[in-house]
Symmetry: C2
Subunit: 351 residues, 2 copies
C-alpha cells in the first residue's frame, strides 16, 4: 500500500530504468562496439531484472497506474515483465483505452490464462473487451456454477445493480448458534473482501436476514443466529438503477448489501468498493463529456483519435457560428444605416 507521493516515486523510478535502457541501446548502436550484441543483452537483462523486482512489490492498482502513465512501447515492455498470474487483476484496473492496447498485444493463450484467474463478476466486466474466441475458451473452462454466474452477470445492462453485483457471499442458516458460525468461518482460507455481514438464508436460498460481523463478535457464542440477525436490512434487486444503490450506500453508510431476485432469493451482493468505482467513473464521464471527450481516450493516443472524438463538437460550434453570421448578413442593410448596432451584438450574445 502506497500513498500518492510514493506512487509518483515508483513511477519515476520505472521511467528512469526505462530511459537508462533506451540510452544504452542508443549508445551501443551508435559506437558500433565489438560484440555489442553481447553487451547490450547483458545490460538489458540487468535492467529487466531490476524492473521485475520493483513490479513484484507493487499492488495491482499501482501497476495499472504506471502502465497508464507510460507511452505505448514502454507500456508493453513493462506489461511483459508483470507476473502472468496478476495479468487479470491489472487488466481490470486500467482504463478502457489502455486495456485495449494491452489486449491487442497479448496472445490467445495468455489472455485465456489471465481471464481464468478472475471471478465471474470480474470476468463479466472484462468480457466486452476480450476477443470472442478467448471468451469462448474461458467459458468452456469454467465450472458449471461459475458459468451460470457469468451468464447472469453479463445479462444486466450497464448502470444497473446487476452490473455492480458480485457473487462472493458467505451464507449461514438461522437455526444455528454463533459458536457454530464461528467454527464454520474458520474453515475458510480467507473471507471475501468487504465481508461486513453474513447472509442468513433458508433452505430454498431465500434471504431471511443479515448477521453483521459486529453482532457476531460482541454477542454470546451460545445465542442463536435467528435471535440476533437483522431482518429489515436494505435489499437491492438486480434491475434497480446503480444510481439509486449508490445513494442508498451513501445515505445509510453501507459496506455491502444483498441482492435478491423477485422471489426473494439471494443471488449476489453489492460492495462499497464497486459503488465507489461507479461514482468516480460517473463523475469523470460527466466532466469529460463536458469537454467533448469520451471516457475511452488515452493521453498517448494519436492526434487522429482525438480528432475523431472531438470533431463533431467543433463542427456544431462552427455551424452555429455560420448561422449567426447569415442572420446578421440578412440585416446588413440596417447595420449599414446604424453602425452602432454592430457594437451592441456581443452584449446581446452575452446575455
Amino acid at each position: 500500500h502506497q500513498d500518492q507521493d510514493e506512487l509518483q516515486q515508483h513511477l519515476k523510478e520505472v521511467q528512469q530504468v526505462l530511459s537508462r535502457q533506451h540510452l544504452v541501446e542508443n549508445l551501443v548502436h551508435r559506437q558500433d562496439m565489438p560484440r555489442h550484441d553481447l553487451v547490450e543483452g547483458l545490460v538489458h537483462k540487468q535492467h529487466l531484472a531490476e524492473l521485475r523486482k520493483k513490479l513484484d512489490d507493487l499492488h495491482s492498482a499501482d501497476i495499472a497506474y504506471i502502465l497508464e502513465a507510460l507511452p505505448l512501447d514502454d507500456r508493453l515492455q513493462v506489461w511483459d515483465l508483470v507476473k502472468a498470474e496478476r495479468d487479470g487483476d491489472i487488466l481490470l484496473e486500467v482504463s478502457d483505452a489502455v486495456r485495449e492496447s494491452l489486449i491487442e498485444n497479448m496472445g490467445r493463450a495468455e489472455l485465456v490464462a489471465a481471464a481464468e484467474q478472475l471471478d465471474a463478476d470480474e470476468l463479466a466486466d472484462l468480457a466486452p473487451d476480450l476477443p470472442n474466441e478467448v471468451l469462448a475458451d474461458v467459458f468452456r473452462a469454467l465450472p458449471i456454477e461459475e458459468r451460470e454466474q457469468l451468464r447472469e452477470a453479463m445479462s444486466y445492462p450497464e448502470g444497473s445493480v446487476g452490473a455492480l453485483m458480485d457473487f462472493e457471499m458467505v451464507t449461514v442458516r438461522e437455526d444455528v448458534a454463533l459458536e457454530v458460525v464461528l467454527r464454520y468461518l474458520r474453515l475458510f482460507e480467507e473471507l471475501p473482501d468487504h465481508t461486513d455481514q453474513l447472509f442468513v438464508v433458508a433452505r430454498d436460498e431465500s434471504l431471511r436476514g443479515v448477521l453483521p460481523l459486529n453482532v457476531l463478535l460482541v454477542n454470546d457464542p451460545e445465542s442463536e443466529v435467528a435471535a440476533l440477525m437483522q431482518v429489515d436490512a436494505l435489499t437491492l434487486s438486480p434491475e434497480d438503477e446503480a444510481d439509486d444503490a449508490a445513494q442508498a450506500f451513501e445515505r445509510y453508510d453501507l459496506v455491502s448489501a444483498p441482492v435478491v431476485d423477485s422471489q426473494g432469493r439471494l443471488i449476489g451482493r453489492v460492495t462499497v468498493n464497486a459503488v465507489l468505482d461507479y461514482i468516480r467513473e460517473e463523475a469523470e464521464a460527466e466532466q469529460l463529456a463536458a469537454a467533448g471527450l469520451r471516457e475511452e481516450e488515452d493521453i498517448f493516443a494519436s492526434v487522429w483519435d482525438s480528432v475523431k472524438n472531438r470533431w463533431q463538437w467543433l463542427a456544431i460550434n462552427l455551424v452555429t457560428a455560420f448561422i449567426a453570421s447569415r442572420v446578421i448578413g440578412a440585416f446588413e442593410g440596417s447595420i449599414e444605416k446604424l453602425v452602432a448596432l454592430a457594437a451592441l451584438m456581443p452584449i446581446v450574445a452575452g446575455i
Copy 2:
C-alpha cells in the same frame, strides 16, 4: 432502510398530512364555526400524532431528505416533531442551508442537548454552524478525553485527512492470542461502525499493525496477534490531503485506514463512508460551481439569496460584453466601409 421509491413515498405522505392540516385550518377559519378553536385543536393533534409516528420509523438520513424537500414553515413543523435525541444526527445529515434554517429556530438548551449526543468528530463538523455560546456549553460538558479530541478535530482544515478522521477505534496488543481478542470484543455493547480491522498498538500508542476481522475470524484462536497482523497496511497522516486519501481508498478498496501522527502514534481512523461523503460533496460542489452557485443554496431560499449568489457572475458576463462592444466601437469606421465584417464577428467569437 428504504430505497429511493419508498423514500419518495414517505415524502409524499408527509406532504399529504401537512396539506390536509393546512386545508382544515383554512376551512375552520373561513366558516367561523362555533367552538372552532376546539375542533381545530383536535384535528391538529391527530395530524401531529400521525406525523410523529411516521417520523419515528424513519432513518435519520431519510428525515433529513424530507426536511430538505419541504418549504420553511412545514420544515420547522416537522422538525419540532422529531424526537430530541435524534436532532444531532439529523443536523449532520441535512445540507448546509437547511441546517442553518433549523439551527436559527432552535433554543440554546435544545441545541446543547442535540450537540451532546454527537461524537467528537461529528461535533467538529457541526461546530462552524453552532452559535459560540452553545459550543462553549457543549465543550464544558464534555469529558476531558473527548474535549481533547474535539480540539484536535477542529484544528485540521477542510480538505485534510484530519477533517475526515474519527476517533472510534478498537485497539489490541500484539502479544495476546486471538481467543483473548474475541473475549475482549464480547465486552463491547457494539463495535463502532465500519470496524473491518482492529488496530494493534504498543504501550506508547504507536501503531504496530492492523488485524482485519477476516483474519481474526478464519484463524485458529490459539494463534498470536503478532503472527497474523498486517504490518504494511496503508497509514494516513492528518495533514495529508483528503483527495489523496480518497484515491487510496478507491485504489486499494479500503473500508477503514489508521491515521498516525509524525511519531507513528495512532490518533484516529478514516472510514469509507466519510470518504464517500467527501467525494460526493466535491463532485456536487464542482457541478454547482460550474452553474455559478454555491453549495449553501436552499431551493426554498428567497429570490434575493439566489441573486446574491449569482450577481457576480452575471456582472462579470455583462462587463466583458461591454468591453467587447467598446472594442468593436473603436473599429466603427472600418465596419462602415465593409459591413460584411460585422457578419464575421460571431464566427470569430465562436472559435
